[in-house]
């Protein structure tokens, strides 16, 4: 009720503040009306002396009041019907206010009261209307005027009327709408309210402001277009409200409170009503509820609360951290380089050789500090106790910190390559069969290292030459030594004539090349070979030749010797041409051009194809199909065209020292073994550089060989192993050869650091023979 009082006080006082508060309320309640009242504000401001600052405080005050007011209204509304008495109370209090304000009203605007007189019955309803509709404040203002005159009429007479401006019935409309009319509205009787004739312009306003001492307390009422001068009391009221005080001067807000009930314990109860029976009887409802709960628990519908986990929960703050982020750099921590550990120089009692002599000390002192080998002088102390404090400690720490600070440390970005990705995709050796896998036969008989082996074109026999000055012929499939021939020196090289119609074996030892007829195989071939040799007729004009050809006779002939070619120098290698008529021999000599000789057996002719010495010749070979001749010097392989007599190609092997060479039966590929453990595969059509370098052997390669039919090649080395590789050459020129190492064959003992000395393939089967320094020949199948 108190708030209502306040409201009515406000209403009664008709002050600027009231207007303002009204505006505020409008702002709160209805946004649509805002612009209108803003205009009012601007209008008012022109005549206002109060600062906007004041209005702020007003706002806070009134808004608070307003809230409480509305609350109380709600309460009242609940009890609206039956609380007539309270309404009466309202009326009484309102009356009090009105008595106060009525004086003002009458003083300032007696006509207004007159006008409003008929509206007296509305007075009582004002608060209620507000409660019911929550309408705009402008009407409150109107209501205030009505309130002033309430007491004179029957307050219940016009209880139904809604809240209207009693003096001006146009309602809550912008008053600008009446600008063009002579009136500004209608009074309750429907008569026009005319605008005052005097129309104040700006100048009047200003003059008024300057001259009228009451200007500051004059308020323009738009609805009636009249100026109202506030009385002193009203001004006081406004001031008090602005200060947040109660509007009523006489109101004591600190009155002592009187308890409704005493706080002292009395011996008698407040009420003497006996206790209800239900307070002694167990509640049936409760019982029902409890039994329901019990049932639910029994049925498992309600489960006991899980005890809260007492273990603290931790969250991994860094779980989602991006390792590449800048923060991740602490993971990329680069440890500081370790300091050098103290050596003997730092010892307190260094060995005397670490102590500097006098000259050294002088030199040390004269040196620049940066040039000094040691940053300090090694000193000798008799005991650890006598060691003084290290004077350079701070200095040293500082330098260390400086080093760590200034020295840029960064992680080298390594390219992460999976090593397995670098391995080319090769077919599995299992799919490349057949190739030799196991050792099957050992040909035992030689007593010294077997330098060279060669298989007969039929594959039934094998010839081997050894350092024990013998040449042995073996039956391949049993390992039987069929024949042993003594020759006059350690055999360097043997070669079976590749022509199956000729049964000849070339053997070289010392400076001799011997052509043998082993007498193995078809008798017809053997005899025709002998016939071929004996049928030679010397040419009429005898030419001087580099070698002497001699026909063997007597016991030598019975042994199988047929022709002896005596060379001027030691012969290292003999090799047949594929047709079996030509034979090349190699006499390595660095200082002469007479290194390679080509012999023609049928005509017993010898010629030296090269005029110049191009280096120490290691081995030579004939092209299997075309008239090419391969000469391997220490580092290069030269390919000569024998018909055109010119150099066709020079292959750079990238090896230090070539040991052996083999030509692919197709003639377009070549392998070179070298003493520096490398095997180079050349594709003659591709390049003069190796197509592939294989470094599978641990030690120097001694022999390489191609298979005639199968795509296989083998290399033997001093590590005692033979490595079989699959080397497929395609007819398609665009496809490079496929080289896959398939097998390492071991078996030879390493004797005098020599392992396998020669390898050769069986002409028809995928078998490989290897001869070793352990005086054996082994067959791998």
């Amino acid at each position: 009720m108190r708030t209502v009082n306040l409201e009515s006080q406000k209403n009664g006082t008709m002050s600027k503040a009231k207007e303002k508060s009204a505006k505020k309320r409008v702002v709160e309640e209805d946004d649509d009306q805002l612009p209108i009242f803003d205009k009012d504000v601007t209008e008012k401001k022109a005549g206002e002396e109060d600062d906007a600052d004041l209005s702020d405080s007003e706002e806070s005050v009134f808004s608070g009041l307003e809230d409480s007011e509305s609350d109380s209204h709600d309460e009242e509304e609940d009890a609206e019907e039956g609380d007539d008495e309270e309404d009466d109370d309202d009326a009484v209090i309102l009356d009090e206010i009105l008595t106060k304000s009525s004086g003002v009203e009458t003083a300032t605007e007696p006509p207004a009261t007159d006008k409003n007189t008929p509206t007296q019955p509305d007075v009582k309803t004002a608060p209620k209307r507000k409660m019911k509709k929550g309408e705009g404040v402008a009407m409150d203002d109107g209501g205030e005027k009505g309130l002033i005159t309430t007491r004179h009429g029957d307050e219940y007479e016009h209880d139904t009327s809604d809240e209207e401006d009693i003096r001006n019935t146009v309602g809550n409309i912008p008053m600008e709408w009446y600008q063009d009319y002579p009136h500004i509205g209608y009074n309750l009787d429907g008569k026009k309210i005319f605008k005052p004739i005097r129309n104040k312009d700006e100048l009047d306003e200003f003059l008024d402001k300057m001259e009228n001492p009451d200007y500051w307390r004059t308020v323009h009422d738009k609805t009636t277009a009249s100026d109202i001068r506030l009385s002193d009391e009203q001004v006081d009221l406004v001031h008090r409200l602005q200060k947040g005080q109660f509007g009523d001067v006489n109101f004591n807000e600190y009155e002592p409170s009187v308890d409704f009930f005493t706080n002292e314990v009395m011996i008698h109860p407040v009420t003497n009503r006996p206790q209800d029976k239900r307070s002694f009887i167990p509640s049936l409802i409760e019982k029902e509820k409890v039994s329901k709960l019990v049932h639910a628990i029994k049925m498992g519908w309600i489960k006991p609360r899980k005890p809260k986990e007492t273990t603290p929960q931790y969250y991994d703050l860094w779980a989602k951290e991006d390792p590449n982020a800048i923060l991740g750099r602490h993971k990329m921590h680069v440890p500081a380089p370790k300091m050098r550990l103290p050596g003997h120089e730092e010892s307190y009692n260094p060995p005397p050789e670490y102590l500097l002599t006098e000259e050294e000390r002088m030199a040390w002192e004269q040196q620049d500090a940066e040039d000094r080998k040691l940053p300090f002088l090694p000193q000798k102390h008799s005991c650890l106790r006598a060691v003084p404090a290290f004077s350079r400690f701070i200095h040293e720490r500082f330098e260390r910190c400086l080093d760590l600070y200034l020295c840029p440390r960064q992680r080298k970005m390594r390219v992460n390559v999976n090593p397995e990705d670098l391995i080319p995709k090769l077919p599995k050796p299992k799919d490349l069969q057949p190739f030799p896998t196991t050792m099957s036969l050992v040909y035992i008989g030689h007593s010294s290292l077997v330098r060279s082996i060669s298989a007969s074109p039929t594959g039934q026999w094998l010839v081997s030459g050894s350092d024990d000055c013998t040449v042995r012929f073996w039956e391949v499939n049993t390992g039987r030594c069929m024949k042993t021939l003594e020759v006059g020196g350690a055999v360097k090289s043997v070669a079976w004539n590749p022509n199956p119609a000729v049964c000849l074996v070339a053997v070289c030892f010392e400076s001799t090349v011997l052509l043998l007829n082993p007498g193995l195989g078809d008798r017809l071939v053997v005899s025709s070979t002998d016939q071929l040799i004996t049928s030679y007729e010397p040419p009429e004009e005898d030419k001087e030749q580099a070698v002497t050809w001699a026909l063997s006779e007597g016991p030598e002939h019975d042994n199988g010797h047929r022709l002896t070619l005596t060379h001027p120098k030691a012969v290292k290698q003999v090799v047949w041409h594929g047709k079996g008529d030509y034979l090349a021999s190699v006499m390595p000599d660095n200082s002469s051009n007479l290194q390679v000789l080509i012999h023609q057996v049928s005509k017993r002719r010898t010629q030296n194809p090269f005029r110049k010495n191009k280096g120490l010749v290691q081995c030579v070979s004939f092209h299997p199909l075309r008239p090419y001749f391969f000469v391997a010097t220490q580092r290069y392989v030269r390919v000569y065209n024998l018909i055109k007599q010119e150099l066709t190609k020079k292959l750079m092997t990238n090896c230090k020292w070539i040991s052996s060479m083999a030509i692919h039966p197709g003639g377009d590929n070549l392998i070179c073994g070298s003493y520096d453990c490398r095997l180079a595969w050349f594709d003659l059509d591709l390049s003069t550089k190796p197509y592939k370098m294989l470094r599978h052997h641990k030690k120097a390669l001694r022999g390489v060989a191609y298979h005639k039919h199968y795509p296989l090649f083998a290399s033997g080395a001093d590590d005692g192993s033979v490595i079989i590789c699959h080397g497929m050459v395609y007819n398609d020129l665009l496809q490079n050869p496929l080289i896959v190492p398939v097998k390492v064959l071991k078996g030879h003992q390493i004797t005098h650091d020599l392992g396998v000395l020669d390898v050769t393939f069986h002409p028809t089967q995928p078998w490989v023979f290897s001869s070793g320094a352990d005086a054996t020949i082994r067959l791998f199948t």
């Binding site: 099957s440 036969l441 039929t458 049993t478 119609a501 195989g521 199948t781």
Partner: protein, 392 residues
């Protein structure tokens, strides 16, 4: 110890036991099993040594009643004689009384079964690679020797007077003659064979009639192999079988000389043998396996079984003349192995008498097993087993 229900059975009626289950300890070994069977047999028969096939025991363990097949045990071949030669023994063939061996000392020798040298057949100018008996008429025998000197000599030998006469020299091969075979009728034909000459001209195989005259030429040349022919034999009087280094076994029609079937393997064949009892071919090749073939299969390249235990080339195989499951093989790993084709993983016996490569093996009808090799020794072994099977 848990007991196991077993039922013993055998194919051999003579040693059959009652078809009732026996309960034996589950951990019984072969020896114990054979003891059980021997005890059972003792009731009705005289004592025998039995051999149980242990593998079969293992594979039927899930059943309620384990069925165990048992076969009579062969005692280990007992080395009997050792005949020393002067050089490697390249071939051996025995008939019921005499043993003929060819040697690398260019001679062939005739031995009695007791190991007594009876005769030396000298006449070849090179290594004798194969020998064969042709027939025997009473005391007179015909025999063949094939040699590296590309000839085959037909000899007539009178065992009583111990006189030897060279009847014919057969020429026609362009390489060494590595193997010969005689017609099973032993009447008129010998098949023999040679080593490659040139790759383009295929090796040939020849057969000859025994006609009079000093030098014979081939009756027929069987051409088709690309490489050396390593072994020939007669399947019957109309079919010749040859094995070659070109990884094939070919069956020829003896009448027309045309190829009937080609069986293709993956490795070089060293030797083949045929058993008329089980009608299978056994081949020894340059890998470690002895393979069994069915020569009648038309689709070729069908390996029935491979017997794997050798560690070197198998140089010789020979079926038992009197037992359809047994064969003997010799290998470069110095071992002679006796096989039962019913257990292909392990041989029945390893005979490790030789100190060097085994090059030839043979059986006699009279319970002797022969093997010769690069240690110049010809061993004979007595195997006492299968008199019942042999029906001798």
């Amino acid at each position: 110890m848990s007991q196991l229900q077993t039922r013993f059975f055998t194919d051999n009626k003579k040693y059959s036991v009652d078809d009732v289950p026996f309960s034996i300890p589950a951990a019984s070994e072969v020896q114990e099993l054979s003891n059980v069977i021997n005890k059972l047999l003792e009731a009705k028969n005289d004592c025998l040594v039995c051999q149980c096939d242990l593998k079969r025991v293992l594979c039927v363990l899930q059943e309620d009643v384990v069925e165990i097949e048992y076969v009579e045990r062969f005692t280990a071949p007992q080395p009997e004689e050792c005949m020393m030669h002067d050089d490697w023994i390249s071939s051996v063939e025995a008939d019921s009384e005499w043993i003929l061996t060819g040697s690398y000392d260019k001679t062939a020798r005739i031995w009695s079964l007791e190991g007594k040298a009876v005769m030396t057949v000298a006449g070849h100018t090179d290594v004798v690679k194969d020998v064969a008996w042709v027939r025997r008429d009473g005391l007179t025998s015909l025999l063949l020797t094939a040699s590296l000197d590309q000839t085959i000599l037909l000899w007539e030998w009178n065992s009583e007077r111990n006189k030897l006469k060279a009847r014919h020299c057969c020429r026609g091969h362009a390489g060494s003659v590595d193997t010969i075979a005689t017609d099973p009728t032993r009447t008129k034909v010998t098949g023999e064979e040679e080593e490659v000459e040139e790759p383009p001209s295929r090796p040939r195989k020849k057969q000859k009639t025994e006609q009079l005259g000093l030098t014979r030429t081939p009756l027929m040349t069987l051409s088709g192999h690309n490489e050396a022919v390593s072994s020939v034999l007669w399947l019957d009087s109309e079919e010749i079988c040859s094995a070659s280094w070109d990884h094939t076994i070919r069956l020829w029609d003896a009448e027309t000389g045309s190829v009937k079937t080609t069986l293709t393997g993956s490795k070089v064949f060293n030797h083949i043998s045929y058993s008329p009892l089980c009608r299978r071919l056994a081949s020894g090749s340059t890998d470690r396996h002895v393979r069994l073939w069915d020569p009648r299969s038309k689709d070729g390249s069908l390996v029935l079984l491979s017997l794997t235990s050798h560690s070197g080339w198998v140089t010789a195989v020979k079926w038992a003349p009197s037992h359809e499951h047994q064969l003997v093989s010799g290998s470069l790993d110095n071992l002679v192995k006796l096989w039962d084709t019913r257990s292909c993983k392990t041989p029945l016996y390893d005979v490790s008498a030789h100190e060097d490569k085994v090059l030839c093996v043979d059986w006699t009808d009279s319970r002797l097993m022969l093997s010769g090799g690069a240690d110049n020794k010809l061993y004979t072994y007595r195997y006492t087993a299968c008199e019942t099977d042999a029906g001798a």
